[in-house]
């Protein structure tokens, strides 16, 4: 039985899987990103999903209607982000950087009506123009099983850094 922290009063409809199933899913996601298989990465998201990267050091409950983020994509903009990254005219990522996404400390935080909340720590390396930059932080997911497949309902990547110096940009998916 997985140990689960429940939000008081939360309505649970989503069954909680073993942690290893979530881990396998997150490792698969990381592998897709490292291989720049971005269309397949996008397919991991349900329609209407969101993808966010608040500014470095923002509080976990930062709200994109009140504070400036780096990325606050609804599903429409997320699709365009991937369309853009697939283009050779996304100059920041063409020629493509090399990335290595590592995922650790996977924990199940609780189940809610729209899915199961899962978090991980991450270290992502991006190499471009002879320099390797490191991004560190935590991913927060809401994951849901539909048609026997795990899908991402939302993903928020919190950067545990002071700012984007020296990284300069978040033009990759961290």
């Amino acid at each position: 039985m997985t140990e689960v922290m429940m939000k008081p009063g939360a309505v649970t409809t989503e069954p909680v899987l073993n942690r290893s199933e979530y881990e396998d899913f997150l490792y698969h996601e990381a592998a897709l990103l490292d291989a720049w298989r971005l269309d397949e990465w996008l397919e991991l998201f349900v329609e209407g999903a969101t993808y966010e990267v608040p500014t470095a050091g923002a509080p976990d409950d930062a709200d994109s209607s009140e504070s400036l983020f780096y990325i606050a994509d609804d599903y429409f903009r997320l699709r365009h982000r991937i369309k853009r990254l697939n283009s050779k005219q996304a100059h920041s990522e063409w020629p493509r950087s090399k990335t290595l996404h590592t995922v650790t400390n996977v924990r199940i935080l609780g189940a809610e009506a729209d899915g199961v909340r899962v978090t991980s720590n991450f270290v992502t390396y991006r190499t471009k123009n002879d320099v390797t930059h490191t991004f560190v932080g935590r991913h927060y997911y809401v994951l849901r099983k539909t048609d026997d497949k795990l899908c991402i309902v939302s993903k928020r990547s919190m950067l545990d850094m002071d700012n984007l110096r020296p990284q300069g940009r978040v033009s990759i998916i961290v």
Partner: protein, 431 residues
Amino acid sequence: MATLLKAVPEKTGRWVVEDRNKGVFKVAREAFVSDAIFEKERERIFDKCWLYLGHATELKEANDYLTRNVAGRELIFNRDRKGSYNAFFNVCPHRGAMVAREKCGSALGFKCFYHGWAFNNNGKFATRMGEGFYPEDFGKDGSVDLVRVPRLEEYRGFYFINFDEGAVSLEEYLADSREIIDLVADQSPNGMEIIGGGQQYSINANWKLLLENSFDGYHAEDTHATYFEYLSDYIGGAANDDLSAAKVESRAIDLKNGHAVIEGKAPWGRPIARTIPSWGEDGAADIRAARAELEARLGVEKAHRIADGDRNMGIFPSLVINDIMAITIRTFHPVSSGLIHVNAWAMGPVGEPRIQRKRRLDNFLEFLGPGGFATPDDVEALESAHRGYGNAKFAPWNDISRGLLKDQPTNFDEEQMRCFWREWARRMEDQ
């Protein structure tokens, strides 16, 4: 001219060459990569010009403070108990530790952690020393107070500092850029504010590349093709056609003292007063109301200029106020000739309703900042140019001639950059 341009710029002592007869304007790439020139810029530009420190709304109440590095110097920007704004060097008068080490907060005073010296938030030394260690009147003459930045002045809520005690007033320095600042400051009857959560990033390039890029209409179509594709889909029309139309109507304006603005009309939505179909009927209604409010308060003509124009302004040397699909305040500090620290903020009306603020921030993020659809490609272009300038000895000149001979250059010419460079040369070149 031809022979001059072949010469290695260092030897001629001229980095900016303008020849109106031939219609050419050239800038030496040496000016971007030379450490000697960078040292000279510190003395002649960053120690002499008004530099942006912060906005009044970042310190909402008495005793609020924030710490910030401006042009390589650690500063405290705060309000004292009476609510007055101050700028201090963040260095202990004793032996130099930084007296404020958090990003921001509220403090009645600052206490240095090293040996415990304390200061009121008006900078006054406020430490009781044990008897016999110091003369009785120690510090009474102000000699161990926090040191104030020589000048701190404000225009419409924008606070600037100057490290030169003898500088002209901020208002005189800002010259005609005040009129463009007004077009931002006047956008709301409640005033304008910095929205929470600034973006801080770095660029491996010379600072002047960022200034040029921030009001460069010429690069938009090529560098930002993927953004305009997104925008066409988002607004349900051909953003590129609108962009072509904008070329005809736009203009570059010399604001004096090295400041310049480009003003035109772009295809994106503007949270102040230009709606787009994807904002729906609610969005259109909000925009109509904003427009009506502007017209009632400021008159039809000024309301039209605020609402329908997009403006990218560079204030010499290192402040950019871009009032485009959102308002960004961007200032940047050279760390070396090849590294910039950038601070960027979004600005919006005080008390803006949540849904409108969300539209504004979405507009900001789709284009601007380190995760936007445009800024990362700008950063790539700047870093790429800076690497290219490593060839300065053999390929010495940038060409900034576009539109030099026109009576009225547009956004898509390079007059705005020439305004910057003429001032840069005036300050840097020995006549």
